[in-house]
Homo-oligomer: 223 residues x 2
Amino acid sequence: MVQKKKGPPNGDPPHKKEAAAAEPKRRGRPRAYEPEVALGKALDLFRTTGFAATSLDDLSAATGMNRPSLYGAFGDKRELYIKSYQRYRDNARALMGDIFRNDWPVRRQLEQIFASALDIYLSGEEGPRGCFTVMTAGSEAVADPDIRAMVQNALTELDKAFGHCFRRAKEKGELAENADPAVLAQLASATIHSIAVRARARVPRKELEAIVAGAIDVMLGGK
Amino acid sequence: MVQKKKGPPNGDPPHKKEAAAAEPKRRGRPRAYEPEVALGKALDLFRTTGFAATSLDDLSAATGMNRPSLYGAFGDKRELYIKSYQRYRDNARALMGDIFRNDWPVRRQLEQIFASALDIYLSGEEGPRGCFTVMTAGSEAVADPDIRAMVQNALTELDKAFGHCFRRAKEKGELAENADPAVLAQLASATIHSIAVRARARVPRKELEAIVAGAIDVMLGGK
DNA sequence: GGAATTTAGTGCGAAATGGTACAAAAAAAG
DNA sequence: CTTTTTTTGTACCATTTCGCACTAAATTCC
């Protein structure tokens, strides 16, 4: 009896604005939380304490949802972790895409990418949290094939993005003749990994920026 | 009454071989485990599952010691973790020291260092375990100041070792005139961090070796 | 052989953890 | 106002976890 449900002759034609927050009037008791916000809080918590050391009580406190609601909205702890990680990656991808899309010289692009990375890695009220992929997801990757696949994906995506960037730079003559874009991309990725690790150990931003600057110089061959 | 103990006129004069396993005959029931071996097993386990996800029961099973013995020998879980990490670092330091002490050309030294690192990171029965510093200790570093200090120490030690290596290479004329040993050292460290992360995600050794080869070429300026 | 000493091993207990059942609450629909 | 639907919030359960008390065992010293 749920098949046709009823054709509402009044408002809300199926294609209005769609994605907006225009909810078509849900039926029961309204939610006391916003799923997007709650997921963000969960992500923040997982980023600082990792999977195993984060309890459902912690998550409940951080999101403001009680455990049954958490479960209903996101599934069990592992599912919530995976959704958090997906969200993190979506954010990162969007940020990087915005930068790489611009038609700037390589140096400028690299500077922006690394600066954004530092912003992400160094944020956090109780100390910097590093990179989700490198720190907590990497830890789970050994035991959990699904998470491992996501981590692998994150790694290759980063390599590819940098690779594309360097290839374009070479075409524009911004790199030396003998420069290999793929190798440079892996070096750039390695620099990202390195500052992620160091950020987590509370290496001050100034030092990380110096590392980035040095790496860029080497990669661009002093140009 | 334990002061003079008795001068045993027979074997075991106080200074024989000292540090060797020549135990001076302990008093009570003999231990059923060898502390060194047990610590090694604990280290292996911590490396694969991290701190929070490793229970005392797991450690007990891995070491063959029951929980009270574990506690008596190494203290609580956190102490055992720290001792394991110390052991890991001692091993790594010894290994690197052996390589850097040789008077080889830079390229050879770097190749050896990276090969050893891969050996460490890729070992493990249930899949590669990456680097203790980068993965599990890095995770704990946010919350625990003592562990954080150890991680910081590990990071700077690696930078320094590479720095020394490159400085000597430059003196020997193996590097370009404008090469900055400190920057190259940080790149070498970054490469270490990167292959540690990738190893944990089960990137095959061949790929990791390719990354290493490319990084070395860039660092040595094609020499 | 008996006392002293050190370790092994069983087992307990308090707390935390992940997950869920169930009733109360809040909204729309009839 | 009643029914239906969806969410909240309390309370609970089974399991795991860490740490330790206590007894039994094994060895040396006298």
